[in-house]
């Protein structure tokens, strides 16, 4: 364990880490750019064919020149990157609106969904982990394991449809997809939260069990403290630390937009924007959404890594 932490701490040497992050971001932008280069038909053809039916070769050539599509690949990449850095991601082929504005408009939905799902998942997984660890290998633990396996097996879009069928169509408790306000988020949060919290509960359980056998916990018990006091004072924080990076990844994923669940419930978030863009072959929108999601994903996991290292006492100074 000690050795592992040292290795990890070395990895977080800031300069080296920033260089690596920079290289990864560069790779991500290059890959996003190249992915859409291989698609048959370029932007000029797409724009013209979406506006009028008769497309002449001269018109395409003229527009291609105007858009700078006739310059060589590296130049085009650099131009694209320069604009992307200044948040100019081009205009959507479908609506003609700037991509950055549409992405900005979709963020409140995605952020709300991500925030509540994250809260739900953390609370449920912590509660499930504690209960199953305290009753290790007894009935509640076995039920929790079975529940985890089932929850992981049920695909989230189907769970969404079933919840919609029960709570919207049969019981009329919440509006069917497309409603507004907080009530529109109840079912999506429940759907996403149930499917992501299950496996995290198992990890938290394992983390608690590992700490249960530590000397200082034994010592605390032998001082005559009650189970609950030992748990709150000595175990909880130590057990949570390994969860931080998992929660970081989860948050990154959620911020990147839940493509499937947003589509099922017709929530106008980042994920639905991306899915619609792919189905409509709306290139600038695809590039924009992919870059945004990946950026969120990378940044969140980095921030969580930093928090993780700040929480481990030995490395707080580094």
């Amino acid at each position: 364990m000690e050795n592992y932490l040292k290795k990890q701490a070395k990895r977080y040497f800031p300069l080296k880490e920033s260089i690596r992050l920079g290289i990864t971001l560069f790779g991500v932008s290059l890959l996003t750019f190249l992915m859409l280069e291989f698609v048959p038909g370029d932007a000029a053809e797409m724009i013209l064919s979406s506006h009028n039916d008769a497309v002449s070769a001269e018109k395409i050539a003229a527009l291609r020149k105007e858009l700078g599509l006739d310059s060589p690949l590296p130049i085009r990449y650099l131009n694209w990157l320069r604009r992307a850095v200044s948040l100019d991601l081009g205009n959507s082929f479908r609506t003609g609106d700037p991509v950055s504005r549409e992405i900005l408009n979709s963020l409140p939905t995605t952020l709300t969904l991500a925030f509540f799902t994250f809260l739900f998942a953390v609370v449920v997984s912590v509660a499930g982990g504690i209960v199953s660890a305290m009753f290790q290998n007894r009935l509640p633990d076995k039920c929790h394991r079975l529940w985890t396996i089932i929850a992981v097996s049920v695909p989230d879009y189907w769970l969404g449809l079933i919840l919609m069928l029960i709570f919207s169509l049969k019981l009329h408790w919440v509006p069917v997809a497309g409603g507004t306000g907080f009530r529109a988020f109840i079912l999506p949060v429940l759907t996403l939260g149930l499917s992501v919290s299950a496996s995290e509960g198992r990890v938290f359980r394992a983390s608690i069990l590992e700490i249960l056998s530590q000397d200082y916990v034994l010592f605390a018990y032998s001082k005559g403290l009650t189970r609950i006091k030992v748990f709150i004072r000595y175990m909880f924080k130590a057990a949570v630390i390994p969860m931080i990076s998992m929660w970081g990844m989860l948050l990154g994923h959620l911020l990147g937009g839940a493509v499937i669940v947003e589509s099922v419930f017709s929530l106008p978030g980042l994920g639905k924007l991306a899915a619609d863009a792919v189905l409509n072959r709306d290139m600038p929108m695809i590039q924009g959404t992919v870059l945004t999601m990946t950026f969120f994903f990378i940044i969140t996991s980095r921030i969580m890594d930093v928090i993780y290292f700040m929480l481990i006492p030995q490395y707080r100074k580094t």
Binding site: T24, I149, I150, S153, P155, Y157, W158, H253, A274, R281
Partner: protein, 277 residues
């Protein structure tokens, strides 16, 4: 978890379910009570009955037959995608683990970039770009998935290389290939099997999710995700259309998850967490 009876129960139930799935996928049309493609508008949206055990869809097709025949599409695509990612990833992982430091850094850098994308988004875009079809979905999952396996195998190889008997094998002058086959592979096989089983389940979910969005198998061919997409509009009037295909997906994913969990207990493998869950 140390209870051997439970170990057997998990593997047995998972294995049993997988065998049923395999049987259904192989026999397909022969066991289906009706032709999965024959349209009969007189019998549209019928609730489950003795003639149509799971009812009929909006075109009057037998839902049970479509689910049975859809098994092959759904499972074969998951296996195909899985094998593509697995074979590529494992070979690259071995190369990276045994190669010089420079090559290793380069390969891991590429993995970093691929893994920086959220998995589902990467598959979504790759599949969308190649044009919606089963083939592009399989290739998309393969391209997005290899990096995880490569990193996983590389880590295992580096771990195994530290062991004394592997060093001895090296000192004896064994070639890379026989070193891998005789000393390294047996060590990394148990965690690999567990991961393969659990990931197969996840691939079934990913592929049916993307089919649900309209990127996989194109109608009228039966596939579970595609069936759910078509029947979504009849959620209130014909709920059996939505319940049945979803049950099929859940059961097949459950089969591989049970198998994976059982193997995990059996081999006493420490849990392996996927970046993308």
């Amino acid at each position: 978890m140390n209870d051997p009876k439970q170990i057997n129960r998990l593997i047995l139930s998972g294995g049993f379910l997988s065998l049923i799935l395999l049987f259904t996928a192989l026999t397909g049309e022969k066991t289906a009570p009706h032709d999965p493609l024959s349209i009969n508008l007189e019998y549209r949206l019928l609730p489950p009955s003795s003639e149509y055990l799971l009812g009929t869809d909006h075109l009057g097709r037998c839902v049970l037959s479509r689910i049975i025949c859809g098994t092959r599409n759904s499972l074969a695509s998951a296996f195909g995608a899985m094998s593509l990612a697995l074979i590529t990833g494992i070979s690259i992982g071995f190369v990276s683990g045994l190669a010089s430091r420079k090559t290793d850094t380069l390969i891991m850098g590429i993995c970093d970039v691929v893994l920086a994308f959220p998995f589902l988004i990467l598959v979504l875009v790759l599949t969308g770009m190649m044009g919606p079809s089963l083939k592009s979905l399989i290739i998309g999952v393969g391209i997005a998935g290899w990096a995880w396996w490569a990193r996983f195998v590389r880590g295992m190889v580096l771990n195994a290389e530290e062991k004394d008997f592997v060093r001895q094998g090296k000192a004896m002058g064994l070639s890379h290939i026989s070193l891998i086959l005789r000393y390294i592979l047996p060590q990394i096989l148990p965690p690999l099997l567990v991961s393969i089983s659990l990931t197969t389940g996840r691939m079934i979910v990913v592929i049916s999710s993307l089919s649900y969005l309209g990127l996989g198998v194109q109608p009228p061919a039966p596939e579970w995700g595609t069936m759910l997409k078509e029947s979504r509009l009849y959620l209130s009037s014909a709920p059996w259309l939505v319940i049945a295909p979803g049950m099929a997906v859940s059961l097949s994913v459950l089969a591989f998850n049970l198998l994976g969990e059982g193997l995990k207990d059996y081999f006493q493998v420490r849990p392996i967490y996927d970046k993308n869950t």
